[in-house]
């Protein structure tokens, strides 16, 4: 509490300097300190969002506004191994087909063949990608849904993100060590997969992702 100036003349027009100071003047410093303290409280309450939710979800888009782009991300494996992934992604085509990979579209859906060209150094880890088509409203369509197996045809399990015979380096899930492939991966290769969309929806963008939180968004070539 501020001291009271008992020496000030009672009822005078010019009381002493201390008594005349108003509450705001005497506590200005503490009130101003409230601003950074509130900011600190807000920042600390956002810890889960910043350190857990955003890094563990696909929250950081890299949007090409074209059908080709250079995708770049730094990522960790088990918080111990750190990597840099840089690749040029080019959408070579998104075309309507009757069947692809031993599957056809379900009733009410249309099947699109998606062909991507990737360029990356042979020592970059490129396994484990996921590819989606996006509709005009941003709805994501995955490679597994709305398809029907063609009896007798071979159906691949998942997307072949890298050449099967030369996948490039992979991480051994038991030893957490990077294992090189027997043959060096070519610097340029092609990924082919398919996505079934409701027939009323035309795809506008292609989404490609590996490790959270970065993902690439490219336009479907016209």
């Amino acid at each position: 509490m501020a001291p009271v100036d008992h020496g000030a003349p009672p009822g005078g027009d010019a009381p002493g300097p201390v008594a005349h100071r108003r509450w705001w003047e005497r506590n200005r410093l503490w009130v101003l300190l409230l601003v950074p303290l509130l900011a600190l409280a807000l920042a600390s309450s956002g810890f889960r969002l910043v350190r857990i939710y955003l890094p563990w979800n696909y929250s950081r888009p890299q949007i090409a506004h074209a059908s080709a782009m250079t995708f770049s991300q730094d990522w960790r494996y088990n918080s111990r191994l750190t990597f840099h992934r840089q690749a040029t992604i080019k959408v070579r085509g998104v075309t309507v087909v009757d069947a692809e990979g031993g599957r056809r579209a379900a009733p009410g859906a249309t099947l699109y063949r998606v062909e991507l060209q990737l360029d990356a150094d042979p020592d970059v880890l490129m396994t484990g990608c996921d590819i989606m088509l996006l509709g005009p409203d941003g709805t994501r369509y995955g490679v597994s849904g709305a398809k029907v197996d063609i009896p007798g045809a071979d159906q691949p399990f998942g997307i072949a993100c890298v050449p099967a015979e030369a996948p490039g380096p992979t991480v051994d899930v038991v030893t957490d060590e990077v294992t090189p492939s027997d043959s060096p991966r070519p610097t340029t290769w092609t990924i082919v997969t398919s996505v079934a969309l409701p027939s009323a929806v035309k795809p506008t963008q292609v989404r490609v992702q590996w490790t959270e939180p970065d993902y690439a968004v490219l336009d479907v070539p016209s």
Binding site: V4, P107, G108, G138, T139, R140, Y141, A146, K147
Partner: protein
């Protein structure tokens, strides 16, 4: 020590601020209450229930003591309740796990969990309905008036548990439960498939 009017006002202001703060804190929901809060949308057999991830419809209820699927065959001394479920995703592909479903009896008993014939229901592509069967093992006396509680998405191994549910009244009457409980014909599950396929 001298008491002044200003000092008294300051003390009253501090006490008032602490009281207001205490009341506000008491009235605000606790963090654990928010984390555990459940968002339940109620529906009935044949009615589409809209959730944040899509719409879920239980179209038909069957029962048997013997159920088979591509994974194998299961027999129970109780009763297998087979729910025919239609799922339409919104925004992104949706997968549901039949093991997460719970049959809730009128007296609160819950039935469900893993069965030897359970298969994942998904992924459902947005806008393209997917048909699945959910198999829940229960006892016949739990069927009359039972509800089924279906999570909005499959429960992940890591992360918080799902908090949004569809709670669907299966419309099983006392006579209906006796009929279902007496069913012995084996049921073969088709597994997830797009509607009409």
């Amino acid at each position: 020590m001298t008491f002044t009017r200003e000092g008294l006002v300051t003390v009253l202001l501090v006490i008032g601020a602490l009281t207001v703060g205490s009341v506000v804190v008491e009235r605000l929901p606790k963090a654990e209450d928010v984390m555990d809060q459940r968002f339940v949308t109620y529906g009935t057999l044949g009615q589409s229930v809209g959730l944040r991830t899509g719409t879920i419809t239980v179209t038909k209820v069957e029962a048997s003591r013997t159920v088979s699927s591509a994974l194998g065959r299961a027999v129970t001394n109780g009763i297998f309740v087979i729910l025919h479920v239609e799922v339409t995703a919104i925004g992104k592909p949706l997968s549901l796990d039949p093991d997460d479903a719970r049959l809730v009896a009128l007296d609160g008993r819950q039935f469900g969990g893993d069965t030897p014939v359970s298969t994942a229901c998904g992924p459902a592509q947005p806008g393209v309905p997917l048909e699945c069967e959910f198999t829940l093992e229960a006892v016949p006396d739990a069927l009359a008036g039972a509800h089924v509680r279906l999570p909005a998405a499959a429960t992940l191994i890591v992360g918080p548990p799902e908090t949004e549910f569809a709670d669907i009244d299966l419309g099983i009457t006392g006579a209906g439960s006796a009929d279902l409980g007496a069913q012995t014909a084996p049921i073969k599950l088709r597994g997830p498939r797009p509607k009409g396929a």
